[in-house]
């Protein structure tokens, strides 16, 4: 059985081409059904069709061409068997992503698998790919470090407070980047309590989305007295948060994330005990270091993925000798049964001889079966299978 992959991704195609074949899960299922047995993985960065059979590649290509036109067809890549499997394993581990080890792709592969129409080979392929993806993440730190400024801000806040559950977040300004940082903090359990803007109305919408209160900048000192984390992202030309605003705090840590340019938070606050100020450059530096770390970990993850895909290849190769093994066992069983039927035995004796001869046949064929599967994994399987077919006269049973 031939495994095939036809796909288009961010490596070879710009978004205006990829979007022509971007499919929802429902559309992916429809396409998989249209192709008979297939799994369609469609994410922001790629659309890939995994199929089985000699004509699977041609049919997948035709389906993509029909949806996206010639330009899509021209930018597709086509992989088969082990190369296709290795590619999916790398995708599941996040090694084919823009950010190595990114977390979403594993869920997307699982969703595609569940929405697809996989037969035995695809079932095993996706099962093993998901396993490889999880293993690469568990045995390396590729997915642990933050890959964006909001995620880095949240991770640094955790370095101060530990778990963020119940921690109060104050957002100063209503900018988009501030909202993203607030979201990252909220995803780790922190609670957005107030959005402070020059005019209360500006922050009302953002505050409403998080169930927080919109306040004026005049109320900043009072809000700063109770907040644990401050996200500042106004377009003010001067500092909005200064030393005088944090006098009311007594020994309680305060983590200030300044995402504004010009900066909103006086950097001198960082000199105060228990005050930590990070501006956009500091956060970018953390992200860059983190991405460099991910790239280093990617090398270890590649080794894990290669080992897992090799195991899949060995399993797939062993499938080539399965028909021969089945024929050999059927032939042996036929001979055993025929010879047993010729013997004149009582029912009790027949039962005993039947059991003994079955065991003899099984023991005789056990080692050849194992050896043939091993040879198949080492790419000699076809020669062994042909030899066995020739030696035991199994050619007619093909």
């Amino acid at each position: 059985m031939r495994l095939s992959l036809v796909g288009i991704s961010h490596h070879h195609a710009p978004v205006e081409v990829r979007e022509r074949v971007a499919l929802s899960l429902t559309e992916s299922t429809a396409l998989a059904r249209e192709l008979g047995s297939a799994v369609v993985l469609s994410t922001c960065n790629r659309t890939e069709v995994y199929g089985v059979g000699d004509d699977a590649e041609a049919r997948a290509l035709a389906a993509l061409r029909a949806r996206g036109g010639e330009e899509v067809a021209a930018r597709t890549y086509r992989l088969a068997d082990h190369a296709a499997a290795l590619h999916l394993f790398r995708v599941a581990a996040g090694l084919d992503s823009l950010v190595p080890g990114e977390g979403e792709i594993l869920g997307q592969v699982r969703a595609a698998y569940e929405a697809g129409v996989p037969e035995a080979l695809l079932n095993r392929l996706f099962h093993d790919a998901l396993h490889a993806g999880k293993k690469a993440r568990a045995q390396t730190t590729i997915a642990e470090s933050p890959a964006s400024v909001p995620a880095a801000a949240a991770a640094l806040a955790q370095q101060v407070f530990g778990e963020l559950g119940g921690r109060s977040v104050l957002v100063v300004g209503a900018g988009k980047i501030g909202e993203l940082a607030a979201r990252a903090l909220a995803a780790r359990g922190a609670r957005l309590v107030a959005v402070a803007t020059r005019s209360r109305d500006h922050g009302a919408e953002l505050a409403q989305r998080f169930g927080a209160t919109a306040v004026d900048l005049d109320e900043l000192p009072a809000q700063l007295a109770v907040a644990d984390v401050v996200v500042a992202c106004t377009s003010a030309p001067a500092f909005v948060v200064g030393r005088e605003h944090v006098q009311a705090r007594r020994g309680r840590p305060l983590f200030l994330i300044d995402l504004a340019v010009p900066r909103d938070v006086d950097p001198a606050l960082n000199d105060l005990d228990d005050c930590y100020v990070y501006d956009i450059d500091d956060l970018e530096a953390v992200v860059q270091t983190s991405l460099a770390g991910r790239r280093r970990e990617a090398e270890r993850a590649e080794a894990i993925v290669a080992a897992e895909s090799e195991r899949f290849r060995a399993w797939q190769a062993s499938l080539d000798v399965v028909p021969t093994i089945a024929s050999l066992r059927a032939r042996a069983e036929a001979i055993r049964s025929a010879e047993l039927s010729k013997a004149k035995l009582s029912a009790e004796e027949r039962e005993a001889v039947d059991s003994i001869t079955s065991q003899i046949v099984n023991k005789l064929l056990h080692l050849p079966t194992i050896r043939m599967k091993e040879a198949a994994a080492a790419a000699d399987g076809v020669f062994y299978a042909d030899a066995v077919r020739h030696l035991f006269g199994l050619e007619d049973e093909r």
């Binding site: 390396t140 730190t141 470090s145 933050p146 880095a152 991770a155 640094l156 955790q158 370095q159 101060v160 407070f161 530990g162 007594r250 020994g251 309680r252 840590p253 960082n270 005990d273 228990d274 930590y276 990070y278 500091d282 530096a285 953390v286 860059q288 270091t289 983190s290 770390g293």
Partner: protein, 262 residues
């Protein structure tokens, strides 16, 4: 026989110390090797202590070096409560080199030998030596936590871009654990000192330098808890105070040895 247990314990502690340095450079396998080193070292040292107890006439760790051996074991035991978790491996970087070094000093002083004799009663020594050493082990761990706190706090203040590379507990966790360790250790020191005072009153004798510094240690850690509770001392100031208290522990354990033991 003691040789067969001392060297594996020392090698395992030494391996753990080196592996923790490796972990600081690149987290992963080194950290796991370090944790196993501490575990194996602790098991070997436990076996050594059991053997010493079995062969001793009376309390086996009454000498200065013997008590240092027990002290190392207590420090590693308390460390193991947290040390197995990946986030606390940074603490191992402080604790394991210290444990290995003190274990060697205990060995040089004869504290790992078999067949110790003591003229004090077992009950008094268990109460006095055992409780004081348990408290000092707690203070040592608190000092380790304080050192990790200051290291992490400094990295945060300096905006060290690699801060997320090495897993470590949060500042609040380190601060809280440090305070709790001192809170649990101080009563043990109080009881240990009380046992010593009772014996002093029974047997007579004067106050030596070690006793005076031990009392100062009590006041230092008592002051730590008081300032924390009523003065709002947290974070960096509390960490410096814990380290100052530990200096007194070092003086008691390593400098003022001649006047009290023997």
């Amino acid at each position: 026989m003691a040789e067969l247990l001392f060297w594996p314990a020392l090698v395992a502690y030494g391996e753990a110390a080196f592996a923790y340095f490796g972990e600081a450079r690149r987290p992963g396998l080194s950290g796991r090797l370090a944790t196993w080193g501490v575990r194996i070292g602790w098991l070997a040292q436990t076996a050594l202590l059991v053997l010493q107890a079995a062969r001793a006439d009376g309390f086996p760790w009454a000498s200065w070096a013997g008590s240092l051996n027990l002290f190392v074991w207590l420090v590693v035991s308390v460390y193991l409560v947290w040390g197995c978790r990946a986030r606390y491996r940074l603490l191992g970087l402080v604790v394991t080199p210290l444990a290995a070094a003190l274990f060697v000093v205990a060995r040089i002083g004869g504290g790992t030998d078999l067949g110790e004799r003591s003229h004090y009663s077992n009950l008094f020594l268990v109460l006095h030596v055992g409780l004081v050493l348990a408290a000092f082990a707690g203070f040592t761990l608190a000092a380790g936590l304080a050192a990790v706190y200051l290291f992490q706090e400094r990295r945060l203040k300096r905006h060290d871009a690699t801060i997320l590379r090495l897993p470590a507990p949060s500042l609040e966790t380190l601060d809280g654990l440090q305070a709790r360790t001192i809170l649990y250790s101080l009563p043990a020191l109080t009881l240990g000192i009380a046992a010593g005072i009772v014996r002093l009153e029974e047997d007579g004798g004067g106050i030596d330098a070690l006793m005076a510094v031990t009392a100062a240690t009590w006041f230092a850690y008592g002051g730590y808890l008081g300032l924390r509770a009523w003065g709002g001392w947290r974070g960096r100031r509390a960490a410096y105070l814990a380290l100052a208290g530990f200096v007194l522990v070092v003086v008691v354990r390593l400098v003022l040895t001649g006047s009290h033991f023997g």
